[in-house]
Symmetry: C2
Subunit: 624 residues, 2 copies
């Protein structure tokens, strides 16, 4: 297998690829400029050379220049240096040159992928991207369907929109043509498998009653008349899910949070107990949502167990829609695919990753559960996956992929001014998706990225592998470091969990301190010195992000972590909230041109300096 | 008043401003390149010069180049020549250089406006854009709030999300603390004015029960438990409204279409009758939606009448939320604002537009109703307005603006990893809006556009005025042309209505033909020859869009139009569908460097040529 050269893909932390970048940009701009001139060469210019010398013409150009310089100043003063390995905070890093250049070049043509007429060039690229993602996620590309969304939040809405409307179809069929579902009671209708519901849609079409059925589904009658059941999500869910059930009219009361275990993965026993409890009360389950790569911890839910659970329940007449929110982690599936895009066997996976120099010999990743979870992804009915996260393309590009494209009929609408007579062409995107107008440039950017960087271990896997490697080493160093001196006092550091993936959360504490409140305050101060809080981030030595893990969101899952930091159970029970620093290791440059050991030494030096500053300011405060 | 020079704002139909464009782009790219290098200058590059000579490094760069050249080829083959005055189809034209350059420059910094940490530079620009739009729309900027959305569809969803949750608040208050709404029955609670509901929210907050109230609103309990009433929209609504009531769980059954009159504006009498009918059945009105600039006709609903109607109903204890979908027409309000951003008086408006050389002396625009409608916009509770339409910025940038920012409390959610302790900062955009991650570059593009082009008659008004002027002349020519010869036969052409704005719909018919089916087929053939259907659009002489006006969507409103084309009422009643060509005149270059008369002559010449081709192919068919 031949790996792509990751270093050649980005502009780089020191603008290493500036010549290539600027040459390509220049050429593509010229391409567009001449394309305009070549369209009906007989047409006169709209502005003559002499008009361009007019005073007010010059003034307008000057005004444009002035505003753009003001903008570039603003950008330079306070943008986040995501390109640098000194940034280990949110889900950001440098983005692919191919994607940035494709976006810029396409923007001048300004296609709108809402309909084919607005985007004869880029509409088909978006359809292609959907299929590329479907293939990478293990779906059958003849049956599946996917597209770019403006973000993962909207992708999540779209999946639950489909799930909700799907759940309401059997009851609607019963109203319109009971014969199609004869001998089935409401409980059975509300527990049809998603596949079976889509077959039923086909049957309703064959019987010529589908339009009417749709009118009796939630789409027509609203959420007033049917109780479609509960949406089950892990405690570690992204906050878009709380918004989603509000927006979709399901209501937050109908979303139940499943506890996470000490690895911050959904607790399968709690999930099972919750489902059993609902069944005993004859409350249906609208959908179960699993996360691949939680926002705060990068945890990977044990999807394989949920798939197995559903299989078991279906034997007993209970089913539900299964969605995977892999907005963050989805692209990491490429690490598991060989150059023929086959999911690699467990036995030779680590060897292959070592041989390709993606993971170092001593790096122990992945855990078997994580491997199995990624393997199980094609069993889900839909998956959210964000190219603007681990796809290394610029904002805004989320995506959603559905296993069975027949779901389109549940949510499609047509407008006369974009509809082609008799056509039900997926390139009329606006008719099949939640959004309307959408940038064709975003599709072109993702398409170019996917063409340059193969969606397997030789491409994206090699980029993402560097982050996984970095995160795992960072974790090992945190575990090993244990205690250290700073500002004349003694401190310790602990990672939250072994990363399933590429996020490392950790907290510092002063040795001997057993106050959780003081520990939280201490970490908040560290964060303040490693973020825009300290002033222009540009001056910072190291930049991170943070989060709060509270009982409200996580139950007692963080307690084991706080106890490792010297916080008693009683103290946890009083405060119920722990402040952690959070590093998403997306940068492919963490240990380029230095050793990992040097990076770590530098990191600890920075931390000691920051902590000494905090100690000093506290002493000053006491003295005052 | 000093007008901006419109010609200097765009790259131009013949890339007239190519030097300025490329120089600025080059400079801004260098700014970014050096910004990276200046961040911790002591850091080593991640890739050495010698590594850049490696064979696989070169191969990866070559691959990137190869893919980008493939992309630029695709773009050139089939993109729409929106920059050219030969394109009079969808809502597209050239976009502002300031916006394109701002987008490209910002993209390299790749800010994410979901939260301040992702966008210290561009987050504040989005807040500023929201206020700029609010001011232009006539809102009190101390009280209002707006932001960029990925498109107008999502903006519409957000407005109806707010309207729905707002409507459910009084009932929720009654459940939690009946004392706050004592002596009010459910009908009264469901007919509180939006202002009064927001006061009630303040009272609930003061009483410390607002969180609980919110839990009992739709957001908490879903759409199951309350009947919030009907959403009234004109027949001419954008299809996103059909999607909106589905997505929001309201259901299409609860959206009622109000007839449009012969001008394709909402029929106020029918609106009134519908409201009266609902009141008599004690069915509340959740919201009324008016359109400023319908998608298909550019019609402007008589908002002033709806505002007056609401005022009247409120005297009798009936109220509703009022939203304006000005996704298309919103920016045209700038035509009515003087350089102090005041709405100009009716008496001197036309004179001012003539004096500024925006409209010609003989152009009779606007109609008084259109003027009054734009004037009444600040009475609406919220407004959708798309910068990527008449804001002349590239996709994707819609926007929504709310009159009273207190509505934020009805839809806000917070995530621990982005929340600032104690902060309820509007720069945490993701917590207050429907979307999550969003391109800071889009905000920067709109911000730059607004700074270069004032949001009044001296700026946007001057650009948009050119389109209005073009559309009105086009309409007059269609009216005047009447009958003409082509391919040895005789034809006529008729415009649908006098444009409220800048869209002209029209159809051709052969004189003597009274078959609506044949007329539709004929216009479809013309469209095929003036669109991508005929092959690469790049070869076309003139490019347009089209739509169908059917009884399903429009009732009998189009009948008067078909009768002018020689179609009998009986024929209309049999076919109930008319195919029209649709020209949105956004281009500011329609009559630059030529006279309008020459443009028209050229247009008719093209039409005669196309029609002759159709006639010929029909004759060939008969001969065969």
């Amino acid at each position: 297998m031949k790996k792509i050269n990751v270093d050649a893909l980005f502009l780089g932390p020191k603008s290493e690829n500036r010549k290539f970048f600027k040459e390509m940009l220049d050429f593509m701009m010229d391409e567009h400029i001449h394309w305009r001139r070549d369209f009906h060469p007989e047409d006169e210019p709209a502005v003559s050379i002499s008009e361009q010398q007019d005073k007010d013409y010059m003034e307008t150009l000057e005004k444009t220049e002035e505003v753009l310089l003001e903008l570039t100043n603003k950008l330079k003063v306070s943008s986040m240096p995501w390109f640098s390995p000194r940034y280990l905070g949110h889900m950001n890093s440098d983005t692919l040159m191919a994607a940035n250049l494709a976006y810029m070049a396409t923007m001048l043509y300004n296609p709108n992928n809402v309909a084919f007429e607005g985007s004869p060039a880029t509409g088909p690229l978006e359809i292609e991207v959907g299929l590329q993602l479907a293939r990478m996620l293990g779906y059958d590309t003849r049956k599946s369907w996917g597209h770019i969304t403006c973000d993962g939040t909207i992708a999540n809405y779209e999946s639950i929109w489909v799930a909700r409307n799907l759940k309401s179809i059997p009851l609607a069929v019963k109203k319109v043509e009971p014969g199609l579902v004869k001998d089935m009671d409401d409980w059975q209708l509300l527990n049809m498998t998603p596949d079976r519901v889509l077959d039923l849609v086909d049957e309703a079409k064959a019987a010529g009653i589908f339009d009417k059925v749709r009118d009796y589904s939630v789409r027509g009658v609203g959420m007033l008349n049917e109780r479609l059941g509960k949406v089950l999500v892990p405690q570690s869910k992204h906050y878009s899910w709380t918004k989603a059930v509000d927006v979709l009219g399901i209501g937050n009361d109908n979303m139940l949070s499943i506890q996470v275990d000490e690895n911050f993965r959904m607790d399968i026993n709690h999930l099972k107990n919750t489902i059993d409890g609902l069944i005993s009360k004859k409350i249906p389950i609208l959908a179960v949502m699993a996360v691949v790569g939680t926002t705060e911890e990068g945890a990977v839910d044990e999807l394989q167990e949920i798939v197995e659970l559903r299989r078991e329940y279906e034997k007993h007449g209970v089913s539900f829609y299964l969605h995977v929110d892999a907005a963050y982690g989805g692209y990491a599936r490429t690490v598991f695919l060989n150059d023929k895009n086959e999911f690699m066997g467990w036995d030779n996976l680590k060897e292959t990753l070592h041989d390709l120099d993606i993971l170092h010999q001593e790096t122990d990743w992945p855990a078997k559960e994580v491997y199995e979870a990624f393997k199980a992804m094609p069993e889900a009915d839909s998956i959210t996956i964000d190219p603007h996260k681990m796809g290394y393309v610029p904002y805004a590009a989320g995506a959603v992929v559905f296993k069975d494209k027949r779901v389109l009929d549940l949510v499609s609408y047509f407008a006369a001014y974009i509809e082609e007579k008799g056509a039900s062409d997926p390139e009329l995107l606006g008719s099949y998706i939640l959004e309307g107008s959408k940038a064709g440039a975003a599709a072109a950017a993702v398409w170019a990225a996917h063409l340059v960087v193969p969606l397997n271990v030789t491409g994206y896997g090699a980029i993402i592998g560097r982050g996984i490697e970095g995160a795992n080493r960072f974790y090992n160093s945190l575990i090993t470091e244990k205690n250290f001196d700073a500002g004349g006092r003694r401190f310790k550091v602990e990672p939250l969990t072994k990363p399933d993936f590429n996020i490392v959360d950790f907290s510092f504490n002063e040795i001997g301190n057993s106050s959780l409140k003081m520990m939280n305050e201490f970490n908040r101060k560290i964060y303040d010195l490693c973020s825009f809080h300290a002033g222009p981030v540009y001056a910072d030595d190291w930049i991170t992000s943070k989060t709060d893990l509270s009982i409200k969101n996580y139950g007692d899952a963080p307690q084991e972590f706080t106890s490792r930091l010297g916080i008693t159970e009683r103290e946890w029970e009083q405060v119920h909230d722990v402040y952690v620093l959070r590093s998403c290791v997306l940068t492919p440059f963490l240990v380029k041109h230095t050793t990992y050991e040097a990076y770590w030494r530098n990191f600890m030096k920075t931390m000691r300096k920051k902590i000494a500053r905090i100690v000093e300011s506290e002493s000053l405060k006491k003295a005052a």
